[in-house]
């Protein structure tokens, strides 16, 4: 469903990504790992259109993304979360989800004259289901950014799911979570995948990556150094070297 074809990205003289090739298929969970500064988040920013590519092509369900704006890419069915959580700071938990649903309904000038819109009830119901799933319904009236860290991460996922994406990009979803929270999160991610979505996640926690990913890509210094199933990646020399360094003889 997603093809990343020889994508490069330069920041001035810095080559953040160099001819990266990825291929994602439907209804699977993919992992993207690599040391800090390997270019993982940059790749997410290119896919979602927040940054322009320097070269190469990204195609989603046959459609070229590199010339599209972020909101157009979102409307094609790609949603994401952020490594440094970015909720809307003045909005409540519920509002953070409701605002993402605006793409499913008329939300232009005419919306100010709709008091009890037909679609509104259905969307509210869906928002409730989402927040129930993420265990946040009881906190719906609290300001989103005042929640505990793990809850904020879950809210970001809920907001992304409210967009009803077919591809969900998660940037370090387990960062800052304790073991119990991480376990929970893994169950949620499995559920999301079982609902027919594709998931592409960046993660440092190897137990997360090895536990749920079907296929893993490894970046180092902007280059794809390995790819394969979790078992293959664990045994891969180049990956071990990238993470642990080479032993001097």
């Amino acid at each position: 469903m997603l093809e990343v074809i020889e994508v490069s990205k330069n920041f001035g003289g810095l080559q953040a990504l160099d001819c990266v090739k990825l291929h994602l298929e439907e209804n699977r969970i993919y992992g993207l790992i690599g040391p800090n500064g390997a270019g993982k988040t940059t790749l997410f920013n290119l896919i979602t259109g927040l940054l322009p590519v320097s070269g190469g092509s990204i195609q989603f369900q046959g459609q070229e993304l590199t010339s599209l704006h972020p909101h157009q890419i979102t409307r094609l069915g790609i949603a994401r979360t952020f490594q440094n959580i970015r909720l809307f700071p003045t909005m409540t938990v519920l509002e953070n989800v409701l605002v993402a649903q605006n793409i499913h309904t008329r939300s232009g000038i005419t919306s100010i004259f709709e008091f009890k819109a037909q679609g509104d009830k259905r969307l509210r119901g869906e928002a409730e289901t989402l927040l129930q799933q993420m265990g946040l319904w009881q906190k719906r009236k609290e300001i989103g950014s005042s929640l505990a860290y793990g809850e904020q991460r879950r809210l970001e996922i809920a907001r992304a799911l409210a967009l009803e994406p077919s591809l969900l990009l998660l940037d370090e979803p387990a960062a800052g979570m304790n073991e119990a929270e991480t376990e929970e999160l893994l169950d949620r991610i499995q559920e999301i995948r079982n609902a027919g979505k594709t998931i592409f996640l960046i993660e440092h926690d190897m137990s997360v990556v090895m536990g749920i990913c079907h296929y893993i890509y490894v970046l180092n210094f902007g280059k794809l150094i390995a790819q394969g199933t979790p078992e293959k990646i664990q045994a891969n020399e180049a990956v071990i070297e990238a993470y642990l360094g080479r032993e001097e003889a």
């Binding site: 979602t48 259109g49 927040l50 704006h69 972020p70 909101h71 979102t74 409307r75 949603a79 994401r80 952020f82 970015r86 809307f88 700071p89 003045t90 909005m91 409540t92 519920l94 509002e95 409701l98 605002v99 993402a100 605006n102 793409i103 309904t105 008329r106 939300s107 232009g108 000038i109 919306s111 100010i112 004259f113 709709e114 719906r140 009236k141 907001r159 967009l163």
Partner: protein
């Protein structure tokens, strides 16, 4: 009602509209210091229509506000490229540009000013004020209002939840310019005479001041700010020559003791819960 009191109230109504025009643009975190320019366009276009072309007042106001709105949309496009303090400077430049244009534009009197527009009454002014407030009240509760909140909070994330940030930012420029255009048209037809200097930089600055002092988080802040700071200079008349010094002192102490403005979302919410629920700005 005395002529004096009526005059104060009329200007207060126009100030409320000007404050709301600044607030509209501010909803997406864009500060415009050029709204006197939009006001001038509304004033001159409507006056030309009623005096020279014999158009009735109400359609003249609408056409003038639309003309102002179109200019606002056109300003909104290049304004997207400049942010923060640079946007403030750009809009300031725009306001002065419009003012000097009308100073030199002979068909509307040039430096002599333009005489003759009439017909705006206190009820007409406050009719517009009420309609505008009502529309803001609807906007705050709507999905569109929520999208604007998202753009103000974090435009980049707003774009990743599928919102057309550019369109929303340009749109509120059009809306703000429309309201300022209405204010200008009403001003001209209440004063019977306009000159380019009526729409100088100070008018733009005052409109921004009303919003900052009243509170930037809700449109009620703009309304309350405009009311209080339109009355204050009159209430301070007993101070004679010291009047404006005290006015300035009040502004400075407001910023020290209540920097978020007179009304915040929280105060509005509390008031709303205490009374009818009409003031409520949250939708959940």
């Amino acid at each position: 009602m005395s002529v004096y009191l009526e005059g104060v109230l009329a200007l207060m109504g126009i100030n409320i509209l000007m404050a709301l025009s600044v607030y509209a643009i501010l909803t997406t975190d864009q500060l415009s210091l050029g709204n006197a320019g939009f006001m001038a366009i509304g004033a001159y276009v409507s006056s030309y229509l009623t005096v020279k072309s014999g158009v009735p007042l109400l359609p003249a106001i609408l056409v003038a506000a639309l003309a102002s709105s179109i200019v606002g949309l056109l300003i909104g496009i290049p304004a997207l490229r400049v942010k923060g303090i640079y946007l403030v400077m750009a809009t300031l430049g725009f306001g002065e540009m419009v003012r000097t244009f009308f100073m030199n534009f002979e068909p509307t009197g040039g430096a002599y000013g333009f005489r003759g527009p009439s017909g705006a009454t206190l009820p007409l002014i406050y009719g517009w004020v009420l309609v505008t407030i009502f529309l803001f009240w609807l906007l705050t509760r709507s999905r569109l209002g929520r999208s604007l909140d998202a753009v103000r909070d974090d435009p980049e994330v707003a774009s990743t939840v599928g919102l057309h940030v550019t369109l929303l930012k340009i749109g509120v420029f059009g809306l703000g310019a429309f309201i300022a255009g209405v204010a200008g048209a009403l001003y001209a037809h209440y004063m019977f005479y306009i000159e380019s200097n009526n729409f100088n930089f100070l008018v733009s600055a005052m409109a921004v001041l009303f919003v900052i002092l009243g509170g930037m988080q809700t449109f009620w802040g703009a309304v309350v700010g405009a009311i209080i700071f339109s009355i204050l200079p009159e209430a301070l008349r007993f101070m004679k020559d010291w009047r404006l010094s005290l006015y300035g002192a009040v502004l400075v102490s407001m910023m020290i003791f209540r920097p978020s403005g007179i009304l915040t979302r929280e105060t509005v919410r509390n008031l709303g819960e205490r009374f009818t629920g009409i003031f409520r700005t949250t939708r959940s």
